[in-house]
């Protein structure tokens, strides 16, 4: 009895404690949340990984930010139509695409850069059963792959970029975006600027007369089109889809644990779109400084493409948020306050996470002008904006971009013409392609002494067993000739086909015949 009473009272005390805890915490969050109202945005999937992280982070302050990564074109259109409070896009309004000029919205707005990043080339390729993780490509080869000029991975042009890899005789399957996309716009602008004739020839061949920069990739047969960055990266990351390559922000490769191609820059080095390489690349970007222009703060990337710095990643660019500067219809001062606080967060604190996510933090000059733009949002609380507290890794006392200044020089093995590095790239770090090590360490040996089991040749020999192993004198790659599972039947109608067909016919007959016979017999009796 006594024990029971004790139990009951302790339960009561616990309940009371929990209740007060709930009331207290609930009350306190409600008090914070009262300052903020939910806001919603749509647009770029290129920068969606960063935005999603920031959205989760500001939840603790009671901010509720909804974001739909439906593509830059959709983001711009939704902002124009007034259905969202902010849009996110890699490209500004006012560009001509496929013969149509994207009109400016009637509501007043400004662009604010949100984050930098590199449009990476994520691929799925194996050789001798091992994933290739150290592919290198030069710009014209990339362009040729995405315009149907190069159709096989063992093309001489790709092999010239990759002296250390034995490339398989597989078809190149470019995976492009099916929706209107800022990634497509960035990629096509680069191709149209640097490889004008290749790109224009392709465009004309597939029936698009007006080429140049476009948000809608013109496809031809053999290509695969998927919606959103999640769609293209998810497609390439499917194990069976070997031979695929796509253009997508670097963070998606990190997320899916897939490698990206190192791209040749104008200093003849193959570089990966790491945060520091993107920061170096963007030193060449020209930012529109005319405050009266409708394009204020937008980017001009010609200098990035042609940067002579050995560390510069050529497909680096900024992504922009489009915010309204007046109260209008559903956009109230309360919403403006939340949007300004969110913008203040990602321009400042949020940038610290950019590198981990696969982006590159903004330099101090852009954060400074960005914060100036933030104060133009109606309802913005300018007292909370303080650039000194940002702790951004690019900031320095002298105003130089620390990240770019301290960026490591590329390895000697990343230079053009030199046998390539074996380290992995993108999300496939730490793994070294077996095929590559075979190629670099054992040249010209015969008899299959590859042995160690970690190399491509060793795995082949170990699993396939009996046949004679031969090693190519030139590449050093060993293969077990007899054991390669090649279908031996010709293309025509062979015996196996007859067997399969007859099995199916017999199966159908087993199902169909008895009822028919029974019905017939029953009728006869009657």
């Amino acid at each position: 009895m006594n024990a029971r009473q004790k139990f009951v009272s302790s339960v009561r005390a616990l309940l009371a404690f929990l209740l007060t805890a709930i009331i207290v915490t609930g009350g306190s969050t409600a008090a914070v949340a009262a300052d903020y109202v939910p806001i919603s945005g749509a647009g770029s999937s290129w920068s969606a990984n960063a935005l999603d992280q920031w959205r989760r982070n500001v939840k603790q302050y009671g901010m509720s930010v909804n974001y739909a990564s439906t593509g830059s074109v959709d983001g711009r259109n939704q902002f124009k139509g007034g259905t969202v409070d902010f849009g996110v896009s890699e490209t500004p309004y006012g560009l001509k695409d496929n013969g149509v000029v994207d009109e400016l919205p009637t509501r007043p707005f400004v662009y604010i850069p949100i984050v930098a990043g590199g449009t990476a080339f994520m691929y799925n390729l194996t050789s001798g059963g091992n994933r290739i993780t150290n592919l290198r490509l030069s710009g014209d080869v990339v362009t040729k792959m995405f315009t149907g000029v190069i159709t096989k991975w063992n093309d001489a042009a790709i092999a010239a970029d990759n002296p250390g890899i034995t490339l398989p005789d597989r078809a190149v399957v470019p995976v492009v975006r099916s929706d209107g996309s800022g990634s497509t716009a960035q990629f096509t602008l680069w191709m149209a600027t640097k490889y004008t004739s290749l790109w224009n020839n392709y465009c004309n061949a597939v029936g698009r007369n007006e080429c140049g920069q476009t948000s809608f990739y013109p496809t031809k047969s053999g290509m695969v089109a998927q919606p959103g960055s999640q769609g293209v990266s998810g497609y390439v990351a499917q194990k069976a889809n070997e031979g695929t390559i796509t253009y997508v922000e670097y963070s998606y490769a990190l997320k899916t644990n897939f490698p990206v191609a190192k791209i040749l820059n104008d200093a003849n080095y193959y570089v990966e779109p790491t945060a520091s390489n993107v920061a170096v690349g963007l030193l060449g970007a020209k930012i529109n400084q005319n405050k009266n222009s409708s394009m204020y703060l937008t980017q001009e990337l010609g200098g990035v493409y042609n940067s002579k710095d050995a560390r510069a990643y050529p497909l680096s660019s900024y992504s922009y948020i489009i915010v309204p500067t007046t109260e209008q219809a559903s956009f109230t001062a309360a919403k403006g306050g939340t949007l300004a606080a969110f913008s203040n967060y990602f321009l400042c604190e949020g940038q610290q996470q950019a590198e981990v996510l696969g982006y590159s933090p903004l330099p101090v000059n852009l954060v400074k002008v960005g914060l100036e733009q933030v104060s133009k949002i109606p309802g913005a609380d300018t007292s909370k904006i303080n650039i000194a507290k940002c702790n951004n890794p690019t900031f320095s006392a002298s105003g130089e971009n620390t990240l770019a200044k301290n960026a490591p020089m590329p390895d000697a093995c990343d230079k053009k013409g030199v046998e390539q590095c074996t380290a992995g790239t993108g999300g496939a770090t730490g793994t070294t392609s077996g095929g590559t090590t075979t190629g670099t360490t054992i040249t010209g040996t015969t008899g299959g002494t590859t042995g160690t089991g970690t190399t491509g040749g060793g795995v082949m020999g170990g699993t396939m067993g009996t046949g004679p192993t031969t090693c190519d004198v030139d590449t050093g790659v060993c293969s077990n000739v007899k054991a390669i599972p090649v279908a031996t039947t010709s293309n025509g109608w062979a015996a196996t086909n007859w067997i399969i067909l007859s099995v199916i016919i017999v199966l159908v007959l087993i199902v169909v015949v008895p009822p028919v016979v029974v019905t017939y017999a029953a009728r006869k009796v009657r």
């Binding site: 749509a42 439906t70 593509g71 074109v73 959709d74 259109n77 939704q78 496929n98 013969g99 149509v100 398989p168 005789d169 597989r170 078809a171 399957v173 099916s178 929706d179 209107g180 029936g207 948000s215 496809t219 047969s221 053999g222 290509m223 695969v224 089109a225 998927q226 919606p227 769609g231 998810g234 497609y235 499917q238 194990k239 069976a240 889809n241 070997e242 031979g243 695929t244 390669i484 599972p485 090649v486 279908a487 031996t488 039947t489 010709s490 293309n491 109608w493 196996t496 086909n497 399969i500 067909l501 009822p515």
Partner: protein, 325 residues
């Protein structure tokens, strides 16, 4: 000579009757009015595009509204192909499920199975899409490859641009196809088709069932001679309803297919198209003309779905339940 004249009937309805009739009539007419409004809205918004395209709207395959070159030939054919695959998957699956639930399953299991099937109908379309894209696609590609290798000679099952004897041949040509989208949509419409069939089968008169069994019929013979003829209307009606839903399925198809704007008759090959997926893909990023063209495509889909559903109701009405038995 006396002639019989029919007695005049006067119906006196009391208040509650009148209210009931009024409510029912209002409900019925509201449905019709909404349908007409949807149709006329689509027609009004589509007028600009239809005027520009003229009759070529029905024959043109490309979809470039801003260049003035657009038509629904490819997307409508794609929609029909996906819906056909879906029905081929869904019909046997739901017929079997419905028969098992009503005739074979133990009584205790029955209500559990019914709620499982109904629960399946409640799964959001996007979940089916994710499942199809990330899981089913990889699993189904070898099947597609096998079918095209051995039955590629049948028109529609072939795949171009790949050599099946080459072990390094890319398997991407088998992905994002009409076939995969059709299977996913088929699985999506199965629950609704199943529940309609099950409902009709369970209404088979007990007397007729018992009569058949008393005459010595096995359970299967009873099903064939009593349940199936009785439920014919339900089978056709359920299938047609499923077809209507399959024609309009959007997000799952949008996530799986790789859109192409040429007629793609090879169902196993990469590249498919559907009106609903096209609208989902393009509505947010269209110009005024593009939007009008999408409305026109929507109108075509709307009309087609109406025809299918009216066809279904005519078929169901003709074969009144139980009429054939």
């Amino acid at each position: 000579m006396l002639t019989d004249t029919p007695r005049k009937l006067t119906i006196i309805r009391d208040g509650s009757d009148k209210v009931f009739r009024g409510v029912i009539r209002a409900g019925g007419s509201v449905v019709l009015i909404i349908m007409v409004l949807v149709g006329s809205f689509l027609g009004y918004r589509a007028a600009q595009a239809l005027n520009m395209a003229g009759w070529s709207f029905f024959t043109e395959q490309a979809w470039e509204p801003d260049a003035g070159k657009f038509g629904i030939a490819a997307v409508i054919v794609g929609t029909i192909l996906i819906a056909t695959v879906a029905i081929i998957v869904a019909l046997p699956l739901s017929l079997g499920t419905a028969l098992f639930i009503t005739e074979y399953a133990p009584r205790q299991l029955r209500s559990f199975l019914v709620s499982i099937v109904d629960l399946m109908a409640a799964i959001p379309s996007v979940v089916f899409g994710l499942w199809g894209f990330f899981f089913l696609q990889q699993a189904i590609v070898p099947v597609s490859r096998w079918i095209s290798q051995y039955f590629g000679w049948i028109p529609g099952l072939g795949v171009t641009g790949v050599d099946p004897t080459d072990p390094l041949a890319t398997t991407t040509v088998y992905t994002s196809s009409t076939f995969i989208a059709g299977i996913v949509v088929g699985i999506m419409v199965t629950p609704i088709v199943t529940s309609i069939m099950r409902e009709v089968f369970s209404q088979t008169p007990v007397g007729e069932r018992e009569g058949a069994l008393a005459l010595g019929a096995t359970r299967w013979a009873m099903i064939r001679n009593v349940v199936l003829p009785f439920g014919q209307g339900g089978i056709i009606g359920g299938t047609m309803l499923g077809l209507g839903r399959a024609l309009g399925e959007t997000i799952a198809v949008y996530m799986i297919i790789s859109p192409v704007f040429v007629i793609q008759p090879n169902i196993l090959q990469n590249g498919a198209s559907s009106v609903a997926a096209l609208i989902a893909l393009r509505y947010g990023e269209s110009t005024e003309m593009g939007l009008s063209a999408l409305m026109a495509a929507g109108l075509a889909l709307f009309t087609m779905t109406l025809i299918v559903n009216f066809g279904a109701s005519i078929v169901v009405a003709r074969s009144r339940s139980g009429a054939a038995s």
